[in-house]
Every structure is written in C-alpha cells, then in structure tokens.
Amino acid sequence: MGKLRSIFRYLFRRKHFENDIDRELQYHIERQTELNMHHGMPPAEARRQAALTIGGMEPLKDNCRDARLGRAIEVLAQDLRYGLRVLRKNPGYSLAAILTLALGIGANTAIFSLVYGVFLRPLPYRDGAQLIVLNQTVGADKDDAGFSPIEIAAYTRQNHTMQGVVEHHQMSFLLMGKDMAERVQTSVVSVNFFDVLGVKPLLGRTFLPSDDDRRAGAVLVMSYKYWRSHFHGDTSIVGRVFTMNNIPHTVIGVLPPVPQYPAESDVYMPTWQCPARSNSRNIANVNFRLIDVVFGRLKPGVTVERARADLEVVSRQTQAAHPEGYTGLSHFAVTAQPLKFDLTRHARTPFLILLGVAGFVLLIACANVANMMLARLLKLERELALRSALGAGRGRLMHQLLTESVLVAVSGGLLGLLVAPLALRVLVGFAEEFTTRAAEVRIDGPIQIFALALSLATGLLFGLAPAFARWDQMESLHQGGRSTANRGRQTLRAALVVAQVSVSFVLLIGAGLMIRSFSKAAREDPGFNPARLISMRASLPLFRQTSVEPFRKGITDLARQVREVAGVESAAITSVAPFAKVLLAQGPTHNEFEIEGQPLVAGQPVPTVDGRVVDFGYFEVMRQPLLEGRTLNDHDTESSLPVAVINSTMARHHWPNQSPIGRRITPDHGKTWFTIVGVAGDAREYGLDHKTLDEIYTPMRQNGGFGNVLLVRTAGDPRRMIPLVESAIHKINPYIALDQVSTVEDLEYESMASPRLMTILLGLFAALAVLISASGIAAVMALTVRQRSHELGIRMALGAARRSILAMVVKQGLVLAGTGAMVGAAGAIVLARLLTALLYDTSPRDLATFGAVSALFVGVAAIACLIPAMQVTAIDPLQALRRD
C-alpha cells in the first residue's frame, strides 16, 4: 500500500518530491557551512567546502530519484513516448516493419493454432491419453484386416490391460419418417461406446447395457450436426420414432458437438440393430471381418506396449481356437496405438512442413526488421553519440532502442492476431482433408499467448541487433555521422541479407517443387473422360430382402429409366464412382486371386487386385478405351460363363508380352473361374496423383455383388442436369434416396484439394519470403548508396561514368544475393527431401526447379538492387562533396 502511494507521489506529485530533495540538500549544505565556519573557515570557503562534500548536485539528485520505484515506470513511459514519436516521424520504416511482422506473426499464429488444435490440444474425451486403437493387419504392406465378432469378443473378455473394448463400423441405411426417406450414415457401435469415449449426451441418454437386446426395441442416438441440420435443434426429437431396416427405431438422445471418432455419422445404433452384424451365421464366422474400428481404454498406469503384448496373447489364443480364420492369411498381426496418433497420422507431415515454413518466414521478417533497425541506428548515430557524450548511459540508450523494437514487434503481433483468423479459415479447410480434429481448431487463450510471446521474442531478438554493433562515440562525432569505417556493422547487415536470401531460396525451391509436382499430376490423363459425367448413389427402399437379386433388378431398371430422361446420353452402374471421397479415403482393396496354371507357392506373395463391380455399358459411359478383346455386355448373365475385363497395368504385370485374353483367374481357390475377355486402358480413379494399380472389372450379375452408383453421361451442362435427373428418379419412386451426387469433374477437382492447397500455401509463403528478402536487399543497397554518396560523388567528379558506378552498386547487391542463393541451394538439397512424400513424379533435386528458381531469384535481386542504385544517378557531385 505504502509502495503504491510512494509511486503515485513520485509520478503525480512530482513538484513536492523535487521540492523536498532541494530543501533537504539545502539544509545539509547550510549545516555543513555553519560547522565549517565554527572550525574557523571564512564564510565563502566554508560554503565552498560544504558544497564539495555533496559533490555534483544533479547526479546526486538523479541517484535519489533512481532509488524510487516510480522512476522505472517514468523511464518506460518516456521511452514509449519517444519511440512512438520516432515511429511517427518515419512512417515508411514503421509501416514496413509492422506489416512484415504482422504477416509473419499472423501466419505463424494461424499455423500454430492448427498444429495446437490437431496435435497438442487434449482430446475432447475423458482422459483421452488412455484411449488406444487396435489394428489387425495382413500381408507385408500391413493392410487392415478388420475384425470379426468372434475376435472382438475374445479381445473384450480375455484382455488384462483394458477397462473397456468397443467396436465401430459404419453402414448406410435408409431412415424413413412420415413423408421422407433419407440415407443416413450410421455408426454401429457397442453399447458402452460412449462410456469408453467419455461422451455425455446433450439431450436424453446414450446407450445402456439393456439396449443390447432385441426385446428392448431398437434405439438411435443422433449426432449434433445431423440434429441441427435436419431437425433444426428441435428438443422434442427424443422419443420420435423412425423406420429403419423395416423396424421402428426410437431416438433416445442427441450427442454434444464434439468431433466424432472414428467417422462422421448421422446416427448411432447398437450392434444387434445392424442386419449384417447380427446375422447369426456371420457372428459364428471368424472370417466375417466386417468391423473396421476397435478401440479401448487402458486401465490406469498401463502402457501401450503392455497392452500390445496382452493383445498378442489373446490373438494367439483365438487363432488356436479358430484355425479356419487364419489359413491363407500371411503376416497376420495385431497391434495398438494411441487414439491421438491414429486421428492425426495423415496430418503430421504436411502440418509440420507448414509450421517449419511459417517459422522460416518469421525469421526472414525478423532479419528484415533487424536490418531496418541497424539502418536507423546508423542515421541516429550522431544523435546517440552526442547523447552518450552528454552523459546518457549506454544501458539507457539500449533500453530505449529495445523499447522501440518491442513497440514495433507488439504492434506487428496485434495486427497479426487480426490477420490470423482470416488465414485460419483457409487452413481449417485444408486440415479437414487430413483429420477430423480440424473442427477443434480455433484461436483462443493459449494461441493468443503464443502470438504475443512470439512478438515479444522477435522484438527482443531484433532489438538486440544494435547491441552487436558497437559504436565509437568519439569517432562518430568526428566523422559527422558519415561513418564509413564501421566495417563490423556492414558485415552484420550483409550477413543478415545473405541469411534472408538463403532461407527464402530454400522456401522458393520447396514451393517450386510442389508447383512442378502438382502441374505434372494435373496434366496426367485420367484414362477416361470426366466431362459431362454425373455420379450419384441410389438407395432403393427394399427391406427384408435376403438376396441381392431384387437390388440388382431395381438398379438395372433404374439405369434403364434414367437413359430415357431428356438430356441424358447414356448411363451405367458401378460399385463406386471414380474420384469418389469414399474411394480416396479407403484406398484400393487387395483381393487375392490365383491364375490358372500358376499354383500358389508357399512363402511367395499371393497376387492381389483392386476390383469394381460394373454393369454392361460401363466402359462406354466412362469413355475408357478398350485396348484388346471386348467390353462387358448384357449377355454376361448369371447363366453364362463368368468373364472379366482387366486394365492394361494388370495385363502387363501378369502377362508381359502376351495376350491375357482367354486366361482364367479365380478369387476363391478354384470354385469360380473368370475368363478374361478384354483389356481396358488404365484409369486413375484414386486421383490424378496416384499411379494406376492392377484393376479388374466384373459384371454385376456374375460376381455375387451389386453396385448402387449411377454414372450418367449428359448432353449438356452436367450441373444443370443434376436436378433434372434427380426429379426424374423421384418421379419413378419418391422413396429412392439419392446421395453423393456430384459431377465427376468436381470430384476430380476435389481429389486434388490437398496437394493443391499445399502448393498454394507453400507458394504464398515463398512469395512472401521473396518479397521480404527483396525489400531487405533494396534497403541495404539504398543505405550503401546513401552512405557512399560522398565517395561516389568524388568518383564522378573524377570522371567515372554514371553507368559504371551503377554497375558497381548492382554488382555489390548481386554478390550478396548470389552468396545467399548458393547457401540456400545447399540447404534446399538437404531440406527438400522432407517433401518427398508430397511430391508426385518429381525428384526433390529436380534440376529444372532449381534452375528456374535461381533465374527468378537473380531477376528479383537485380530489380531490388537497381531501384536504390538508380539514386546514384541523382547524385550531384558538387552537392555530395559539399555535404557536411
């Protein structure tokens, strides 16, 4: 309390304070004078001696002031005022510094929020660190094998390391209300699913053990998103009854808005309500591995390693009890890893690259500001030297310069916080390509602290730059501030520019590689014609059907009816559309098969192939060229010989230099033999940047499955045709649910979304870096010209041509840029390797990219040098010589 009063008195009752000091010291001198006179000195001498005991009056008073806490605040306020005045007086410098920093800090804040939200923020589930994901894999490539109900039951009952094990698989069912039929993404889960995750319902309740029973009646829990978008947040939803799979389902609860793991679904149901999962034949079949996600909660204190060992023991017991489930499976293995890792594994590489790049950009911005600071210091040199000579302590001057740079940095940081949300909006869309955690990304407390800490750190960092540059006050005074002799500082500035240039060069190489890779991928021929092609999934309201026959007939009829619609050229059926999101997310399947006459050899890898179930007319609608033999036609029926069309990659792979036509393969150890009747061209259905794999196309009526995706080739604008086709289908049957409706060109565009965004982001960062470095080069050259104007003036007076002087200055700048580029090239060769995973058909040492980037760089550097060098021509020799 006393301290506050004292600070207040010092700052705001200053007159009293000063008055007290004056009178106190006055009193001291008077008493000392009296004492001296008492000892016999004459009055004048007595007074002189008394004053001497005090010493310098002003320094003593200053020391008294320094003893006060209020003094520190006063000094800071003075420096701030002075700093603000200086910034206002040099608007160009201040704006450039603040804007560069704002961009640097804004970008870093946005990317850090992303990385924080995705990797660092605790999972929004209770004790998220205890959650682990189980995986069963087969083959050398560790393909997901999935889980069968028998295996899940074993892990659940026989493990010793987990508190709970739950399963999840996603189905797509029709949800029918009074006057609606909608296809809903349905998560089929164990009844303790939400308890293990630790998710509490927003409305109603989640599942209870008693719900795991047919007699209790079917129940549903709705996701927050679906409830909001389809029922407008109507709280009376709890208790509503819908029909699914032909039985009534009661909604018992709504989830809170937490990110859904492992997949976004509209509704959740217990396992017994899924017809496939609850079929008694499937439950007894260890080979029925429908369930793709199993996870559990570790008991307290149990490590992931111990859980892994435990799971392996359980799996060996299951394998011994059900050997029929593991014959023919090579490299079968079970493993586990933390949920958090599983959620974000795809995001790791691109995000860390972006974080590194943003950090680099900030460093470049810092170097720039440090450089500007040094330039300013040079201008101030005389003033500082003068103040220093007049008794201002070096510490005080440093304090003041530091205040100024922190002022710039914090302004930049605050402005950066305004920029960050804009940048973040773009970035979240990018993150959604990689992880469901993107929904949790936002700018909040920890992020703002990060941004401010970052700006303070940069402020101190570049504020300290002048500290490296010692100034010799006397020399500065003598030279009249012309300072040609401070080589140390020139070297520092040159080093800063070289460092800037080299880092920007690395970034530009990174961006260049991404652009080259992207344009290479974008130029790839998809192998079919995506123009004027629509794809949509059609779900027929057929229930209680135990065979696929009604589905096949229904979808075939539908395709025929769609072909009649005006504006439709042709239509066909497939199991999945090219570039479809589900296709890209799940990746190719690896169906094992045998070739006639080539029996499997133990220990040799079994050949595998990715497959499509299609209807006749598929290749014609896709415009996928036929290279050999014939396509599928409507004579390929249940009663005719099973046939297949393969792609040319598969043909070359298994029958190099010979025709595969007439060869036979079997997917089921000889029960069924498919005769190859045609070879089609390769199609890049998994995205243009994915090399084509072995692919087989089998007719729907022969392979036991069916497709429900319609491919429609239109005569005119496909986007305008979509509503026409939809309404035509609903006229045929209003209960056919249509979803995943899109033009194939849009799907193709979206399939490239993540490389496109990565390319754009890296490109933007690199452009920013180059811009900042160019301004760095220009600033240094401008200063050099100004400092050397005296010398250049003499040269001109002595007859040197302006052009040769211009060349000299530009050459000096290019040497800086060239040195930086060389250092950068060396760094790029090392760092570009990190990009390998993101590059398509492009070497990280791609010569063309290195060449183009170098050329671009030399050009930019030359321009950056030329602008300030032009000032040379404005030098009037006489003026330059006369100038102070």
Partner: protein, 110 residues
C-alpha cells in the same frame, strides 16, 4: 596520531542508518554527524550515497520522513523508524553479529 579511516562495507550503510534512527528521529546531516561521532571518526559517510540510501529505505517502507523544526530552529526533513524498519534492523543486527564474529574467528582475534 591520525586515525585510520575505513570505507563502509557494502550494505552496512543501511544498518548504520537504521541503528542511528533507533535512538531518535533525525535528519540527513544529523545522521552523518552521529555516525562519524559514535565511530570516533573511523567511519565517514559519503553524502553521495547517504541521501540515495535514505530514499531507498523510505521506498522500502522501513523509515518515514516528515518536515519538523530542528534544534537550530529551522525546517529539516526528519526520518523515523517504522515498525517494519525495527524488524529489519533486528534482522540486520543479527546478520552483522554473525558475520563479524565469523570474520574475527578467521582473522584470529577472538
């Protein structure tokens, strides 16, 4: 015989000021005189450090200052120990005794 004069040890000035003020409130000049007298001219207080020290002690809340009429009938700035100052003095005294005893043992006087 001239008496040897000693420089004040770092930090002991605070102790001397507080101790002087323990006897009675006093102004700056008086404090320096008192220290000189009691130490029989061994200790000379540098005015350049006395006044900043007084301001520092006041800022710490160990002493307070007020204008009073002095012994020669003029207004002087008198300093007075506070309760906090008394506690501080006790602590510094104890420290000093411990320190000087230790130094004396090493030097071999005691």
């Amino acid at each position: 015989m001239a008496k040897t004069k000693s420089d004040l040890l770092q930090g002991t000035l605070d102790l001397l000021i507080l101790r002087t003020l323990e006897l009675e409130p006093m102004h700056g000049w008086g404090i320096s005189q008192r220290i000189q007298q009691i130490s029989e001219d061994v200790l000379q207080v540098n005015q350049g450090s006395l006044y900043p020290a007084l301001h520092r002690l006041e800022e710490q809340g160990w002493i307070t200052a007020s204008w009073k009429t002095s012994e020669n009938n003029r207004q002087a700035r008198y300093y007075q120990l506070t309760k906090k100052g008394r506690d501080q003095l006790a602590e510094e005294k104890a420290n000093w005794l411990r320190l000087s005893a230790a130094v004396a043992r090493i030097v071999g006087v005691a």
